[in-house]
Amino acid sequence: MSDQLLSLTGLTKAYPGVVANDDVTFAIGKGEVHALLGENGAGKSTLVKMIYGLVKPDSGSMTLNDQPYHPQEPRQARASGVAMVFQHFSLFDAMSVAENIALGMERPPAPRDLAHQIREVSQTYGLPLDPHKTVGGLSAGERQRVEIIRCLLQNPKLLIMDEPTSVLTPQEVEILFKTLRQLKSEGTSILYISHKLDEIRALCDTATILRLGKKVDTCTPAEKSARELAEMMVGTSFASPQRQDRDLGQVLLSVSGLSVAATDAFGTALRDISFDIRAGEILGIGGVAGNGQDELLTALSGETRAPTGMIKIKGQDIGQWGPNARREVGLLCAPEERLGHAAAPNLSLTENAMMTGAARRGLVSGGLLNWSKARDFAQEIIASFDVRTPGSQNAARSLSGGNLQKFVIGREVLQNPDVLVVNQPTWGVDAAAAAAIRQALLDLANQGAAVIVISQDLDELIEISDRFGALNEGRIEKFVPMAGLSIDEIGLMMGGAGTDV
């Protein structure tokens, strides 16, 4: 018996027009936390799909515990002790938490026992979850918990985690890391995919770096700086966002006593939120997922209307206005959900550019849509935000998450907003793209716009915002200057109340 759990030799997988993985060779030791690093589209997901039996390699071989390992389907992989936490596409909205978990298990126990086990595991690992809730009403953070608990219930030998912490608070991340370290000490190996390089440095023993489908390097992440790791991924160096001192101008957006009832049974009501934001200012809003982030964005964007007097832009009451009217006076928004909310998945980039840019970019003339202007606008976004796509005629869904996010943010930034509201602007986006998006938001503020960043990524908020407030069950108690705020103080502001279910 060697001390290797899983070893991959020369794995290659090609799709028409692109080689997703090219001769990838590495090994994961027993009880090792192994990071897989790479930009969006570097071939990480194809690689883990091969390990999980969803994709068959064109060539190359794998061994698990020194036995040849060729999973034909995920069921076989699970039977061999390989479990996976997915980033997308593996939860069923209309079904309960318990049903979702049962579907990921080979031989689930009776429903009552399962509910009991779920409660037990979720307590042990500090991931509170009600087994009888319908998944459709859960926040992104809670959905992730469903995925994680689904795996933990199977006592896996190898746990594959694709971006597991992107929606957790620092405290929750700490608890998760404790769990993972506990699993590691019990001999479980973990293959960990994340864009958060600090996390990888804190948690992982070894890192394998993929670039354009090829393995480019292996290193011990603790010995490298986050910046070195990022540069190994990208292959070149890039600039981290530069902030400069800005003079604040007049109050652009004024929110006073904003209270909006929850729009659906699973939503959070906004309660008495007040703030002013000035030209040139970046306001950061943190908080655990599901504490009113989506509701705040939709209340500001005009998707839900607010009572009169609560939202004013440059003194004008816009609470009752719809999204298009608000856009015309300079209030633009980029929601969290890229596919389906910020962009229409099956429409082309040109059409998506038309949808929010129509009024401010003058893409409509005489009541008719001017497609050539829309195409120019889309191409301008693609060029200035380095969106990697064959062209503006491609459907939004064909872009990787990071590229689509750059497009969505770019589309709003290039409309010269007076006030821009973004929710989770760099969720699931690789380090280089995230840096570019943050830089764009800083530049926008430098040009005199007011920017509201709602995010669960605290590093991001610390990096770019001037003032910070935390959403807690629909309330924001206070806003404090970001400078000098410690991560513990931020954690306290985000509050314990939001983590109880």
Binding site: T46, R78, F89, S90, M95, L103
Partner: protein, 301 residues
């Protein structure tokens, strides 16, 4: 007015059975995420195959078995086209209806007679002697009982069994089900064949029990009603039972009223089943369609 309410209630169960059978089959198909608009075509295929099988073998049982097989056989055409050749489900379903109507007219040539084969009533001992209820509920033929058992069985299957949970998962999000390693196509093919068999039974109930004879286009739109009831019942078996009986009930009632010669225009009476069913089910509605309903599944990864 001398409509006997007890006999009317018993007639309602007979009138509703074809719709109920076809609808419960389609409900399972749609819960698996497949929209098969070919119910009418599968019903009429079942009607003609069932009639011929019963007529030739002089056995109603063999007739219904033949009908179920016939319905399932044409549904396999739909399944192969939509699940393996990835054709559009709406267009394929419509084509299946046109195909079924035409095929049945061709196959049924020379059988446009009445049949001597009858499906005997099967009164349930003891229960059928209960006054009123006994006549209404417990003096029917086996297929009426079968249809009710099927509704209960589908309910139990969908809510209480693992196989049913997998079927719902496939219908809710086929990408996720695939990612977890479930055989989306296999589940869907089985659901489609179940739907075809149920529609076939429903069609044969028309040609062997309600009419009973073979004439072209004998199902006369029953399959479309079944499809509509599945949607209005929010894909829930018990609501589907309510919807089918309500529709069958108002249909039977308005025919009785017409026969009585009441002073209500016939047109209003004829539209009453549709309006009543829609109204009641809209008031009750609140469900949502299976997430992957009608979408093409392409196992790309």
């Amino acid at each position: 007015m001398d409509i006997n309410p007890i006999l009317l209630a018993a007639a309602i169960m007979v009138a509703s059975t074809p719709i109920l059978l076809a609808a419960i089959g389609e409900l399972v198909v749609e819960r698996a995420g497949v929209l098969n608009l070919g119910v009418e075509g599968m019903m009429i295929t079942g009607a003609v195959v069932g009639f011929i099988a019963a007529h030739e073998s002089e056995s109603a049982t063999l007739g219904f078995m033949g009908a179920a097989l016939g319905g399932a056989a044409v549904s396999v055409i739909f399944g192969l086209l939509t699940q393996f050749l990835l054709t559009n489900q709406v267009a394929t379903g419509l084509a299946l209806t046109l195909f079924g109507v035409g095929l049945s007219a061709l196959v049924g040539q020379g059988y446009d007679t009445t049949t001597q084969v009858t499906l005997s009533k099967m009164p349930i001992p003891v229960l059928s002697d209960i006054p009123v209820l006994g006549t209404v509920l417990f003096r029917h033929d086996t297929i009426v009982y079968l249809s009710l058992i099927l509704v209960a069985a589908v309910f139990v299957f969908l809510t209480k069994t693992r196989a049913g949970m997998i079927l719902r998962a496939v219908g809710e999000n086929h990408e996720a089900a695939h990612a977890l390693g479930y055989k989306v196509r296999r589940v869907r093919m089985m659901a489609i064949m179940f739907g075809g068999a149920c529609a076939g039974l429903g069609g044969a109930y028309i040609s062997l029990v309600r009419v009973p004879q073979w004439v072209d286009n004998i199902t006369a739109g029953t399959g479309w009603i079944a499809l509509a009831i599945v949607v209005f019942a929010s894909w829930k078996p018990w609501r589907l039972l309510l919807g089918a009986y309500l529709f069958g009930g108002v249909t039977a009632l308005q025919i009785n009223i017409q026969a009585e010669g009441l002073d209500i225009p016939v047109e209003y009476l004829s539209m009453s089943p549709y309006i009543a069913t829609i109204l009641v089910l809209v008031v009750l509605s609140g469900g949502r369609a299976p997430g992957s309903l009608g979408k093409i599944f392409h196992a790309s990864s």
